[in-house]
Subunit: 195 residues, 2 copies
């Protein structure tokens, strides 16, 4: 299906990207694989794209991406959870973190823990908790919640006498009854602490 030259080109692109962090231009591919005409490279690129090995962005430079590359594993770190506006608004993103342990990174985001209400569960201030917003928080799980559309918090969800509570892991804090002011955001699936 793809010729040796095409494999050669694909390989060159691969190595180039790994080395430089960005894709080569058509002319750099020329030089890299020993071709003198940009249109020859163009010709091979088209083949590679049709064969599904490459992706290109029309008229954008260095916009080649190699298909079936590793899953995108960067997930956004949210700062303050803005009132009302449900998450993910770009202005709330204060950074990104590599979290390559899951396929469906689009469902994930990270929150920096503030406060010590979960200290007894080994969740410290400044820890980064990874939250999957499409996993339902079940009884006994640790989840992220939005209270009064204002404040984001990490707590246990516990059912006590038929009612649901947000339960801290710190005796100095009280349980919070789950009512219409408490909005579940997602389950805490992982924790990262840098020291």
């Amino acid at each position: 299906m793809v010729s040796d030259k095409q494999k050669n080109i694909l390989n060159f692109i691969n190595i180039f990207v790994e080395k430089n962090g960005y894709a080569p231009s058509v002319r750099e591919i020329c030089a890299g694989v020993g071709l003198k005409s940009t249109s020859t490279v163009q010709y091979h690129l088209e083949k590679l794209i049709n064969s599904g090995y490459l992706q290109k962005n029309y008229k954008k430079s260095r916009a080649l991406t190699i298909k079936s590359q590793n899953p995108k594993n960067k997930i956004p770190i949210l700062g303050e959870i803005a009132a009302g506006s449900l998450l993910m608004a770009e202005e709330n993103v204060i950074g990104t973190v590599n979290y390559p342990r899951s396929e469906e990174t689009s469902e994930l985001f990270a929150l920096s823990v503030s406060g010590d209400s979960m200290i007894d569960e080994g969740i410290h201030e400044k820890d980064l908790v990874i939250i999957n917003k499409s996993v339902q928080i079940k009884n006994g799980d640790i989840g992220a919640f939005l209270i009064n559309n204002t404040e984001g918090t990490i707590k246990f969800l516990r059912k006590i006498d038929g009612k649901s509570y947000l339960v801290p892991a710190n005796k100095n804090y009280k349980n919070i009854l789950v009512n219409e002011n408490v909005q579940p955001i997602g389950k805490v699936v992982s924790l990262i602490r840098d020291m």
Copy 2:
């Protein structure tokens, strides 16, 4: 050091790269962060580069790379620390974990925590601790140690009355005097917990 706008730009680049697989052009950054002049973006890029957050390639398009982003981010997870044979022997590797937050991943490895001797420090059984074997463990640090060439453990290193001790974060365990039977392995630099 870097202004909000600069963080904003860095973040935009981050997200753009994540989304598209290649870096944005100067004009795309303009549009992305709400600036009308390419030279303003140029101005901020220079700041980010001087501050070490970005790398650029002169006159090459879309040739921005975000620093401290290393593709080689898989580090080995060691199981039991085999007696004598210092680490890293392949037979001790029980898996790998992606850990992309450091440059020098070759200095790093991970240990799965066993036992609850550091529970009060929020380090639980089954947690994965990342250890940098080329960072010296200083007084007050949490480090990994090999005891009697047999048993690996995670403890505080504390100097008390001129002597060094391995100090657990759990009253049920005793301090261990550091002598020739205790061998430092490396500093615990990070912790990962999956839930």
